[in-house]
Subunit: 515 residues, 2 copies
């Protein structure tokens, strides 16, 4: 593959085109992927001639790094060069000359390669990490790493180790639509919101990072802190500060809280029973309005909660997240994990008024649907808009290094039947305001309800308050139209098979047909 | 005794004067107090003729209720009628005709009387409870009940059961100085700040309350709630709202917190080891600026504390108060007492910005003294300005019903050696801003330091962190000029005799001479 042409690199592209048009003109039997990679065919130059001997990319040809990219992604790119959804004068004829089998094999071959892990271009990333690591949620721009991760998954390739010029070229192509192979138009939507400076900063950040080799925790170390800021007018939405967390004993606890928030599996392992992160539901590390921001929750407690019928402190409220949403167990009050999360939330809340009705609390409101929510309509929508990240079976996705990237929405690795998200109204509100990722408020109210209904009509881990009977547990905690627990869907009684952490179904008490 | 004359009650006074001038003119042996009370003497009409058969007071003569008033107070009044510091044309000649012994006996006699407990005048108290129960701390006007209590003590008689007209007359007399028998000029200072409407409201509140009989918790039930209020400008001092606490499940917990705050002996008995209240140090039920208001503390935690070397949540900070200031034990995290106090503090903080440096936090600053603090100067000042309420031995005072009224400042019933107040700088700041009660900011910085030094140079309950050695405990927790623990005062090593709750000295480990 050769890089996409830009006017200023027209000379390099012309060279590539020349290689395609001339050279080994008369091959016979279909070449193997390894042959194509290293020797080329009559119509195709050797891939290594532009992409480097190990698929590491080349600055002279401006060809991107291919080594270790997800095979699905690489195959999709080859296909998009041939169908024109990604325009490149060099790669178009190359891809057209490859058979479907050859494309698939080449994709597998490059995905399996490792290549050097040092950055191909040594431009410094300092000061350029804002967009890459934090995004800009006021414009619904998530952090680049939030989908591309450390190692990439599926359609979201890792970016570290690509040259700045390549990344810049692709972002521009997404923006002007000459590359429109992106799923759901996600990258077009995001690139359209980026200034030239944004594009260069993001590109330069990833160009300066080594291509993925081992595990990294760059995100956890570089997230922004929140410092005091004056609250706006009475009805203005509070904005947590971006100032850095101080490097003192209190700051260390705040940072631990942020680390727990982003990676509870690592920093609060004994209390979590699935792969969700706090930030799976509380976007932008707990700062984003419309996804129950933590600064708003902080100033809303203590409060009386109908869920457990007494006044909950903020710490007790956090315990509930571990027990239900994280399908784990509640850290004891005073546990360093709770103190750290409370400190991090306090830090974000600095400058906010103490107010149980603070604007921005909870989710964005979603209107009542015109039609009763429907699982079939929801399923269709899920397949087209949600499955890309959350998987066709709702199991979520890990990056190729095994790190959780997108949360499981049902099954043994998702939130349990006691979580707030199992209430269809909560899920609909969250989806309406935030999903698809970076495209919040694009679904209709009806669509949000339909897909929420579909998601919450699947089995998941048992409610920790399970009384021994699904019917009784429903009567106690799930009575009403907002929960599907204890109802029969497709002949299966939801809740009748407890799903244990890790995804294994543990038949416990079968009150209905198994699904 | 007859009531103080007012122009509009001149006729009644004239009647009294007549009784004095005429009647039983030629008695011989000194009459007993009982005789004087019921029969009078040659110079003195029977007390009952104006004050009623049981000392209950009379509306026709406008003579106040005497039954059950503190004997010290009654005696002081008799003395003040004769020395002119309390002006009353009827009572002046009566008191002059009584010998010192007769005065003392009459005071004892009336103090021992009970009289009826129904209010002599049935004026409604509704809507008039503001000043009586809450005071107006912006002007350093404490609640009337804060000194007069339910049953009165020493120079602070109970007010319930007195007629509104009598109370009004006395407040006016304090204001215009015609009654200046009040200790430290406290009542003159307070009355001078009262409008006519204030005077009438307070009088009508107490007139409508039954004279003390059994225990009452009127104060606990009628304290104001705090509702959201908008914070002032960046540098303005936050003012908690006066709106009532709602009557809902959350409000019930908030009210419990307020009850604990005002009366921990009753509402958090298992966790307290002395007679202090939370509001002994945090005036105006935790609202008053200059005495570490709780709304400011609430928005300042979590925070790192040097005292225990880690990040404390607000709940843990509250635990410290029980362990040290209350010389008790820390309620476990999640205990209803802590949840209630956190809820009450949250309630007061509604509308305040989350800010560890919120204006009004902690104590008013006190300047460094010109001279080193001196215990002898402090002792003299204590005797003249503090002993009135806190007692000559620092033991504080209970009202005549046994309820704690003024906190003990040292000894077994005071805060222990681990409390913040044992730091002389903290005590000096508190005293400077708030003492004498209702006369904050009247002492010089030097005086505040001197009296703080004196107070904190007395033995008190052992530091709960006691290591087994006073010297080591000092080195660990009291090193520096701000604590007298482990220093020798008048030949006695402070801390060497642990004082157990209840006032008994429990010799534990004698490292120096006993005091």
């Amino acid at each position: 593959m050769c890089p996409r042409t830009e006017p200023r690199i027209a000379r390099a592209a012309a060279l590539c085109a020349l290689l395609v048009a001339t050279g080994r003109a008369a091959a016979a039997a279909p070449s193997s992927a390894a042959q194509i990679m290293h020797e080329g065919t009559a119509q195709i130059p050797a891939c290594v001639s532009c992409h480097g001997a190990s698929g590491e990319g080349m600055t002279t040809t401006r060809a991107p790094r291919l080594a270790g990219l997800p095979a699905t992604y690489l195959l999709a790119q080859l296909n998009s060069f041939s169908d024109g959804s990604r325009q490149n004068v060099t790669m178009a004829p190359v891809s057209l000359a490859l058979s479907p089998d050859q494309r698939a094999q080449l994709a597998q071959l490059y995905a399996a390669q490792r290549g050097p892990t040092q950055p191909p271009i040594g431009s410094a990333g300092a000061g350029n990490d804002g967009l890459a690591l934090h995004g800009r949620w006021a414009q619904q721009i998530p952090a680049c790493v939030q989908c591309h991760g450390e190692r990439g998954v599926g359609m979201f390739p890792p970016l570290a180790g690509q040259s700045a010029e390549y990344i810049i070229g692709q972002l521009r192509a997404f923006k002007d639509g000459t590359r429109h192979s992106d799923a759901l138009g996600l990258m077009h939507g995001i690139a359209a919101k980026l200034s030239d400076a944004d594009v260069e900063a993001a590109a330069s950040y990833f160009a300066a990072r080594p291509a993925p080799a081992g595990k990294s925790s760059a995100r956890a170390d570089a997230l922004p802190g929140s410092t005091p800021s004056t609250a706006g007018g009475a009805k203005a939405i509070f904005q947590p500060s971006d100032a850095p967390i101080p490097d003192d004993p209190f700051g260390q606890v705040i940072k631990l809280g942020r680390d727990v928030f982003e990676n509870p599996r690592k920093y609060a392992a004994r209390y979590v029973g699935n792969d969700l992160r706090c930030s799976s539901c509380h976007l932008d590390a707990g700062r984003h309005v419309g996804s129950a921001p933590m600064w708003a929750a902080y100033v809303s407690y203590p409060a009386w909660r109908a869920k457990n019928g007494h006044v909950n402190t903020f710490a007790e409220r956090l315990q509930g997240c571990f027990l239900y949403s994280m399908n784990g167990r509640a850290p004891p009050l005073g546990d360093p994990v709770l103190v750290a999360l409370e400190s991090y939330s306090y830090w974000m809340a600095r400058g906010a008024p103490v107010d149980p009705n603070i604007p921005g609390r909870g989710y964005t409101r979603v209107g009542k649907p015109a039609l009763a929510p429907d699982s079939l309509r929801g399923a269709r929508l899920y397949e087209s808009r949600c499955a890309l990240c959350h998987g066709p079976t709702g199991a979520g996705a890990r990056d190729d290094g095994g790190a959780p990237l997108f949360p499981a929405l049902w099954g043994g690795n998702s939130y349990n039947w006691g979580a707030g998200m199992e209430k269809v109204s909560n899920a609909a509100a969250f989806i309406k305001g935030n999903m698809p990722f970076s495209q919040g408020d694009t679904l209709t109210d009806q669509e949000a309800w339909d897909v929420a209904w579909f998601v919450d009509s699947h089995e998941r881990p048992q409610d920790p308050r399970y009384s021994g009977s699904v019917a009784q547990t429903r009567a106690l905690y799930h009575d009403g139209a907002d929960s599907l627990y204890g109802t029969v869907v497709d002949g299966y009684l939801l809740g009748s098979k407890a799903v244990a952490p890790g995804g294994h179904l543990s038949p416990e008490r079968i009150d209905g047909k198994q699904r």
